[in-house]
Symmetry: C2
Subunit: 405 residues, 2 copies
Amino acid sequence: MTLSRRSPGKIYMPQGFSFSAACAGIKASERLDLGLVEAASGTTAAAVFTQNRVVAAPVEIGRAILATSHGRIRAVIVNSGNANCATGNHAYLACQQICRAAGRLLGLPSEEVFPSSTGIIGLPLPTEKILAALATLISERGATKKHVDLFTRAIMTTDTRPKLASVRFRSRKGTVTVLGVAKGSGMIHPQLATMLVYLFTDVAATPAELRQLLRGACEQTFNCISVDGDTSTNDTVLLLASGNSGVRLNQESTRKLFADALSEVCQSLAQQIVSDGEGVQHVIRLSIEQASSQKEALQVARAVAHSLLVKTAWAGADPNWGRILAAVGSSGVPINSDKVSIFIGSQLVCRNGASCRFDERRAHQHLAKPVCDVRITLQRGLASTKFLTTDLTADYVRINADYST
Amino acid sequence: MTLSRRSPGKIYMPQGFSFSAACAGIKASERLDLGLVEAASGTTAAAVFTQNRVVAAPVEIGRAILATSHGRIRAVIVNSGNANCATGNHAYLACQQICRAAGRLLGLPSEEVFPSSTGIIGLPLPTEKILAALATLISERGATKKHVDLFTRAIMTTDTRPKLASVRFRSRKGTVTVLGVAKGSGMIHPQLATMLVYLFTDVAATPAELRQLLRGACEQTFNCISVDGDTSTNDTVLLLASGNSGVRLNQESTRKLFADALSEVCQSLAQQIVSDGEGVQHVIRLSIEQASSQKEALQVARAVAHSLLVKTAWAGADPNWGRILAAVGSSGVPINSDKVSIFIGSQLVCRNGASCRFDERRAHQHLAKPVCDVRITLQRGLASTKFLTTDLTADYVRINADYST
């Protein structure tokens, strides 16, 4: 009846969206820094935002727009190079002015133009440069893969490569496509960080359906990654559904297929974001098992993923499990250290809180791979979680020690 | 009536303690790695330990010894180069064996010999090497500054310099001296981290008095510092009082003088630990003001002190206050970002959550100093805290990326 097709490298285009990119001159590097998406009439939307108490103007305005329009979005305008955050009233006025101007040129009410920004905090957004670039940006929009690719490049900051993923599946009623694009490589942390993710689908869904599906997909993907533990002021994951496939979510089987496709796209983007983390040499697939609850498993995962000593050991491919054990002990979860075991790759390196004989060379070789596995068992229950994180390298420090100066 | 004398560089010796150091061969570098303190008969003691759930054998045994002896300690035996942690039963047996042997040679019950270890986790402690070095260690003990200096060097791991502080004050009944020595430069975090601190005084005090005074002194000093946010399995702060000065704490004025002297010594050691943090180029005196409670102020201080993006900006002497604001926002404290202001040195750089005109060059120059000040006001109440932290440099990563391999 149904067929789900994965896309290693292949990009499927959902119906009902066109994309564009321009160089507005916000970035000193003269790279693409302004992106636009136009969505078909009737497109529904849902979003999740940063949980940081300091939020950028576009996040506040984006949230307000979704409420006012009752989950209807017709366009997205994104700039990179400036977060449009912490510049007082200027940030709000700038954001509103850009949404209004884009709406006017597209023939849309400004309440249906969703804004995003990413880049440095505290510098005034160069509004005039963006306004001057809007006409060209809009005139050049198109629905090809080339257009999506340019849009994806326009939202990049310290990313070294564009991040895209798509899945297509067939239901009895037709073919549904989910396409996602993302940016993010620093300030990456659970609860979202300078991470912008746009998900496009041609399924037909109500905003309420989208909200629920998006929350579920984020929980297991973007909220289970961490590069540096810093949360951003601008994080946004936006899901748009044009309905142009004609396929609705009223059947349980279709809903399940769609939820799986959405999760798959989110998971791929989450992995791409972590792999492209600033200065990252190794991606670590952290698995916490036998926790007494999912929440507890996540708490342990985050304590390990945020330990500087663990992350620097990983940078040296050093099988120093003692640091991992100490990080588990500092997580706040009342673990019994005599029941904690640690695996590096398939090798047990710490049994019941104590050292055990293992092949150090093999453990070192495993950790020297670009993607490695660390598994921690707690003997406290049946809950588990998978968490993606990275090492911390001298390059990360170098990249971040002179960003604004 | 009373006179408190500070000691910039000068070391005062308390009565009733002798010190020794030896090279047992635990460290591959053949440096001093074993230290001993012998205290006069009747010495009382109190200690605080790591709050990590994974604790090393010497911490568990030290805690038990204090309980069994009702706060009486006659000797301290410390090794560096191995944490004696996470090696199962071996760790406990090794620790007990060493305490027993040291007690026998000193003519003391092993319940009055307090053990500490610091170094790598998960490797068996080379017990035989330590046992073989005990006789020489004990025969060479002495009460001079030279002996204290050697002891302080014997407990160092990645420390680049020994850390000592002392204060002497006079009360009507006599002269009281407080001497403190410490080691620690990585895994430094509130709630204690691989930090060993020994405080010696000749005041006469009950274990209960010492416990209360020690807790108070730690709260404002060792619990208000952070290098890397990692807590250790071995942290110990031990306070020993020989009573040899004949001065008791039964008068409020003497008690106050002693509490101040103890705090001053702890504060100096805390500063020395942070300044000697691994790879540290800049020490940051972080001041959080106008919080609604002390706890809240500390929560904000820790969020800022642990943000990798803030710490790397400091490494570049980059006045990137946006990252500081974002870290405040991620602290979990329900701050209103419109009320947060940030000062670098004496300059206001962010007023009410927004950028304001400031001299970037001057801010950069301030942050380029070895010790710099960052002040954050929240407009939420009257509580405040001072917190010492550091930048995060590529050198920190280098030091920690190959520790065990």
